[in-house]
Point group: C2
Chain length 223, copies 2
DNA sequence: CGCTCGATTGAAGTTATTCAACAAAAGTGG
DNA sequence: CCACTTTTGTTGAATAACTTCAATCGAGCG
């Protein structure tokens, strides 16, 4: 979950491209049930699989040699996570709450039918990451938060009475780390959006979206 | 070119993984010679190929529906650029100076030998983009610039007498856009690095690296 | 030679961060 | 189940950082 609305691909499974209808869904070698805080994988783990989030939410975080940390993405149902680079996981992944994960084995052969699937998935991942670049740069703190909530709304928004609401399974610190801000700034931005009448915060991890259009407009605004 | 030091992969060509030695270099259907400012492709172009920069430098820029622009990456010799997502280019690409580009056709079949190549390339691209996330977030302007110069030094650094130098084919505005800053801030950061004795600027587009270790230390510092 | 564009610098204004205090929620152990 | 501790979230005030607006400088070009 970066800042992308292209959920169709991930939710429906791999695209069956017209130019090769033989591409099928990849084999799933099993399901995992994770407890809150449980690690799915660590940075540097050798890997021959990727994962699909089936339920719950995951946090992907990358750490540099110097100890600098950065939340790279959040994994929501339908998201593929854990793309191995050079046969290794490039970040660590932790469950934010109870989560169900399906394992997609990448097999061993180059002509394996998983290859086109993996290629397509990796290319879509690139597109989603590019979207996230647009959010990280040149936006104010409240615009970043508005963008973030906007994406979450489309990915995990639920009808709530006559309105919409989003649950935030991650901490303020996680959100701050993801958006390149401090937790205090995130907190202030939440307050800001609330005072502007765009959202309501019945609880810290439960956001009611009062003005979806206004939120989207703020997220994409040029000023 | 994001913020990655993993140049080996790109420079040597596709990795010949031990588990499938049949993976070969992809077919190259031709070379292109671009003039300064010439576009290689536009956002939204349909695509069945990727490109490899052979000489020169390219700028990749993404534009939103609202007109917001963002420099996503720079393409240096050895870099693969133009990964199509859903059969379309997701950004526009312009030559920063005279450039030579090789075209890598992605063929039409799923079992084509280009698939493992493309998969590997896309996965490496993901890793490089993750590195760039580390630079965009939570770094000061001079740390961002130091990181940028540090990468350029490793990608395009040349021995210059008894020292090192880097040529910057892009404008200050491009650098600012890439790092999520303003041109004035980039300019001030250059001055800052110069006054700290880390670099010298004989000309605006010609940087001498006086203290490579100090530059690298600043780029990764926690303070 | 004069023009234009890109780069730099200055000063003021805005925004985010830092440090600190407090409040609220979650976890712990009796 | 309640008191206690710890963690997490919010808010305030001061500082630092980046941006904005404006002016200047210099290189490239007609």
């Amino acid at each position: 979950m970066y800042v992308s609305f292209e959920t169709d691909f991930m939710l429906r499974g791999p695209a069956i491209s017209a130019r090769d209808a033989r591409i099928a869904a990849p084999p799933r070698s099993g399901f995992l049930h994770l407890a809150p805080g449980q690690m799915l994988f660590h940075q540097g783990d050798s890997a021959r699989s990727i994962y699909r989030v089936e339920a719950g939410a995951m946090r992907l975080r990358r750490v540099t040699e110097t100890g600098r940390q950065q939340v790279i993405a959040f994994g929501y149902p339908g998201d593929l996570i854990g793309f191995p680079v050079g046969g290794e996981r490039t970040c660590e992944c932790e469950a934010l709450g109870p989560a169900r994960i399906s394992v997609i084995s990448l097999g061993i052969g180059a002509t394996d039918r998983t290859c086109p699937f993996l290629t397509d998935a990796a290319l879509h991942e690139i597109g989603k990451m590019q979207e996230h670049f647009m959010t990280l740069s040149r936006k104010s703190s409240r615009q970043k938060l508005a963008s973030f909530l906007n994406v979450l709304l489309r990915r995990a928004g639920k009808a709530d009475g006559d309105g919409l609401s989003v649950c935030l399974p991650m901490s303020r610190a996680d959100i701050a780390d993801f958006l390149g801000l401090r937790t205090e700034t995130v907190s202030r931005s939440f307050t800001d959006l609330r005072e502007r009448g765009l959202i309501a915060l019945p609880e810290a991890h439960d956001v009611r979206i009062l003005d979806p259009d206004g939120l989207a407009a703020l997220a994409e605004a040029d000023d």
